[in-house]
Structure formats: structure tokens, C-alpha cells
């Protein structure tokens, strides 16, 4: 098997409960390299719980998670090295500059100073943020902070990028810029993306869809496949049917 044939992410039979309340129920799906997978689900569907399990903030004994073929529980170090994350809440240090934030992340991933400098420049330039590298994050607007967070998540060149509702609270142009940028990343660099959202307009026609509702996968496939199985004409309609029927 070649490296590229290995899914960037495999989730198999994953369940998780908060006490007696089941948050995820035998969730299974895979994300291939270069693929942008939209994890679509209403609020409370279990998206953030799923992300917390993939990032090993939580741990579940039921089911498996593999990142680039590495089991998150058994080989967490290799698995997490292949993972870049943009969390729902901003996780930048507001009192530090863009550069200081990025250097901190680079050091956590073991990048040498020279390598970190080069990667930071590369990622910031790609997003038109290099000129603002010496500014404190507090001075940046929400859209620019998100760009810095995406740059940060990519510094160590992961194979899988997770984004947990990254456009929440952003204005329309900033949202569009980020959605465009991440989709371009998939096609240009071959990175796999798992993007959690409840916003239908963030989906592009070549994206793959995983619809999560009440902790279970209700649909998994390309847009035409999902439309076909649901008998819907639009993604919005399909989403509505999937989340209504199962409710």
C-alpha cells in the first residue's frame, strides 16, 4: 500500500457518552488525502465531541481513530504529529504577537528555529499576513486571527487539517476568504480537510459530506450520492430531511 492510499483519517465504530447521555453512536467514516470532507450537523450533533476525540482531548475505548494510519490511542505521538487543528474558539494568545504565537506552536511540534522561520514566512505570505507578523493578535480582527490560526495549524505540514466551525462570528467577506482558501489548500497541496459546520453555503460541489445528527452518521458520500439517497434536490433540502427524519 502506498502512503497516499492510506486515509488521512479513519474513524471506525466510535462511540462516546457523557455519563448516560450518548454523544456519539458507532460513528464510522474516512477522509482521503486531498479530500475536503464537510462534517455537517446541527448544533448538538456531536461534532465538537468527535473533534475532541480525534485530537485526544477526550478518550474513548469504543471504536478506533487512525490519523494517517496511526492509532490515536496507541501511537498518539505519531498520530498527532500529522494533525493540524483550528478550534471553534480562538486559541491564540492575544497579548503575544503573531510571530510569537507561531513560534510557540512550532516549538511544540519540534521545528528548528530556521525551519520555523521558513515555514512561518511561507504560511503567512500565502495568506497575505506576513506584513502583520509583528502585531499583537489583540490588534487583529476576527478574520485575520482565523488566518493566523490556519497558518499555525499548517506549520508542521500535517496530512490532516481539522476545522471546527472556523467561520463562526466572521463577516461575509472573511468567511468567504477562509472557505476559498481551505478548499484551495485541499486541491493544491493534497492535504485532507475535515471541516465541521452547520452552514450549507460553506460546501463546494466537489466536497464530500458526512451528515451527523444526534451522534450518528446519517449520510456519508459525495454530494450527488447524498442527494440520490435522500431524494433531495439541494444539499439544504437533503440536510433538512436527514435531520428531520431522524429527530
Amino acid at each position: 500500500m502506498t502512503l497516499n492510499a492510506t486515509p488521512a483519517l479513519t474513524v471506525a465504530g466510535l462511540s462516546y457518552a457523557y455519563g448516560k447521555k450518548k454523544a456519539l453512536d458507532r460513528v464510522s467514516f474516512a477522509v482521503a488525502p486531498g479530500e475536503c470532507t464537510i462534517l455537517l450537523g446541527p448544533n448538538g450533533a456531536g461534532k465538537t465531541t468527535l473533534f475532541s476525540l480525534i485530537t485526544r482531548l477526550y478518550d474513548s475505548r469504543e471504536g478506533r481513530i487512525l490519523i494517517a494510519g496511526h492509532d490515536v490511542r496507541k501511537e498518539f505521538s505519531r498520530a498527532l504529529a500529522q494533525l493540524g487543528v483550528v478550534f471553534q474558539q480562538t486559541t491564540l494568545d492575544l497579548d503575544l504577537t503573531v510571530l510569537q504565537n507561531l513560534h510557540y506552536h512550532a516549538s511544540l511540534h519540534g521545528l528548528s528555529r530556521r525551519r520555523a522561520d521558513a515555514r512561518i514566512r511561507e504560511e503567512l505570505e500565502r495568506q497575505g499576513m506576513f506584513e502583520r507578523r509583528k502585531e499583537k493578535v489583540r490588534q487583529l480582527n476576527g478574520g485575520h486571527r482565523r488566518r493566523v490560526e490556519i497558518a499555525r495549524a499548517l506549520l508542521h505540514e500535517p496530512r490532516l487539517l481539522l476545522l471546527d466551525e472556523p467561520t463562526v462570528g466572521l463577516d461575509v467577506p472573511s468567511r468567504k476568504a477562509i472557505v476559498d482558501y481551505v478548499h484551495r489548500l485541499c486541491s493544491d497541496s493534497g492535504i485532507a480537510v475535515l471541516w465541521a459546520t452547520h452552514l450549507i453555503d460553506e460546501i463546494y460541489e466537489n466536497d464530500r459530506l458526512v451528515v451527523l445528527h444526534k451522534g450518528a452518521v446519517r449520510a456519508d458520500g459525495s454530494i450527488p450520492e447524498v442527494l440520490k439517497t435522500t431524494g433531495a434536490e439541494t444539499v439544504g433540502d437533503a440536510f433538512h430531511r436527514l435531520t428531520r427524519e431522524a429527530a
Binding site: 477526550y58 504529529a81 474558539q89 494568545d93 506552536h105 511544540l108
Partner: protein, 269 residues
């Protein structure tokens, strides 16, 4: 290669803590003002009422200010430990803790790095306090300023580990004030920081027992002896054991399969 990764992460975590510290000048000032108020005002006021007999490591009668200086160093470390713990809870609520926890290094190692970074800041504060005290004529032997360093580091680690432990069990920021009151004040007042054990024993046997088992007392004694170039073996062992116990519980608390991240009832998914 792997070792380099570990070292780079340690450097990064320490650099971040120092940067945050430099950016928050008011934190530095308030961390210093607290012990200085005790030194300049409280100790001066109590100088005549609290006579201190000759007890090791002192070889002569000493001023009360001299007696409480190691206790105030302990206070700096104690508040710093709690402050880092508070910032851990804050980081967790604000989400920046996640950045740390999803990096590909063992969680115990990241927690120890955090601890070391906090101690670095605390020790810098402690030396600044000693410098000010020097100008106030509270002077230890010169070699004491060097020999006190390992004592400050060990005590800082122990108190930082206690803070870490608390942060792993405290659910929300707003609950923290209560914990601080229940931890900092009893720990500080029931210790040898402000009065020697025999003085406490004169008033109450129970308080004496509690104070002598208080790990903060042992940390203060370790610092006190080290500041005068002496080694207090019992205090060192006691502080080290407390450090290990606190650290192990904290690491268990932060373990993804058993720890607090899971018990919190989860996020608003």
C-alpha cells in the same frame, strides 16, 4: 531527534511564560507588592510584639523582618503556583490549553514543562524580592543567595504541582476564588512562614501538629536553611515527596481517559 523535540517544546513553553509575564507588568508588580507590604508594614509593626528566640539556622537574635523573609519567599512561590494554576483553568476555559494538549508529546511532559516555566517566573520574582530586601538591610550571607536557588526551585515545583493538581479538579474559573481562599490562607498562616513552630505550640497543640505537617512549612524551612548556606534534609525530603504526590495526582487528573477534561460534561457540541 526526539530529544531535540522535547527540548524545543520546553524552550517554547518557557519562552511563552516569560513573554506573558513581561507583557503583564502589573502581575509582576503585584506579585512583589504583596510580600513587600508584609515586610515593610506587617513585620515592622509586629517587630516588638513577636520576639523570636535563637533557633537554627540563625546563630543570634534576629529581627522579625529577617525571620519572615524566607516565609515571604515561600509566599511568592505559593501565590505564583496558584497563579499558574489559575491561568491553566483560564487557558482551559479560553481554549488555549488545547493547543498545548494536542501537540505530539506526552501529556505528563507538557505539564512538567508548564510547571518549570511557572517556577522560572516565580524564582525571578523571588530574587527581585531578595534584592529589595537587601537594600532594606535584610542580608543573608552571599553564598546563601546561590544555595537558596535549588531550594526555591524545589519549593516552587512543589507549590506549582499543587496548583496544577487544583486546576485539574476545579471546573470553572469562578470556583477558583473559593479554592484559593481555602488553600492559600490556611497554608500560609498554618506554617512557619510568620512564626516558628514552638511559638505555635505555645498556643495550640493541634495547630502545631497541622503546621508541622503542612508541606508549605517544610518548603519555607528548606528555603530558610538554604538562605544561610545550610541544608535541611528533612524539609528537602518532605518537600520532594509532596512534589511527587501532587504531580502524580495532577497528571492523573489531566489524563484524557480518566481526567477532568472528560468529567466536565463535555462541550456544547
Amino acid at each position: 531527534m526526539r530529544l531535540m523535540h522535547y527540548l524545543r517544546a520546553l524552550r517554547g513553553i518557557m519562552a511563552r511564560e516569560l513573554l506573558r509575564f513581561v507583557h503583564q507588568r502589573e502581575r509582576f508588580v503585584s506579585a512583589l507588592v504583596r510580600p513587600l507590604v508584609w515586610l515593610f508594614i506587617f513585620a515592622a509593626g509586629f517587630r516588638s510584639t513577636l520576639g523570636v528566640a535563637i533557633i537554627p539556622p540563625y546563630e543570634t537574635y534576629i529581627l522579625y523582618e529577617v525571620y519572615i523573609t524566607p516565609g515571604l519567599l515561600g509566599m511568592i512561590l505559593l501565590f505564583n503556583g496558584m497563579q499558574s494554576s489559575l491561568s491553566m483553568v483560564y487557558d482551559r476555559e479560553m481554549g488555549s490549553m488545547k493547543t498545548l494538549l494536542v501537540c505530539p508529546l506526552p501529556r505528563w511532559y507538557l505539564l512538567i514543562d508548564k510547571l518549570l516555566a511557572g517556577v522560572l517566573v516565580a524564582v525571578l520574582q523571588a530574587y527581585t524580592f531578595l534584592l529589595i530586601a537587601w537594600f532594606y538591610d535584610i542580608q543573608a550571607p552571599l553564598e546563601g543567595y546561590l544555595s537558596v536557588l535549588p531550594a526555591l526551585v524545589l519549593s516552587g515545583l512543589m507549590l506549582g504541582a499543587l496548583g496544577l493538581l487544583l486546576s485539574s479538579f476545579v471546573k470553572q474559573l469562578e470556583n477558583f476564588a473559593g479554592v484559593m481562599n481555602f488553600v492559600i490562607f490556611p497554608m500560609f498562616f498554618l506554617s512557619t512562614a510568620l512564626y516558628p513552630l514552638w511559638k505555635i505550640q505555645e498556643s495550640s497543640e493541634l495547630l502545631y501538629t497541622l503546621a508541622s505537617y503542612n508541606p508549605f512549612s517544610q518548603a519555607v524551612e528548606l528555603i530558610r536553611f538554604a538562605l544561610y548556606g545550610q541544608f535541611n534534609l528533612y524539609a528537602c525530603i518532605y518537600t520532594s515527596v509532596a512534589l511527587i504526590v501532587f504531580l502524580i495526582i495532577a497528571i492523573i487528573g489531566y489524563n484524557p481517559s480518566r481526567g477532568m477534561m472528560q468529567r466536565k460534561g463535555g462541550p456544547a457540541a
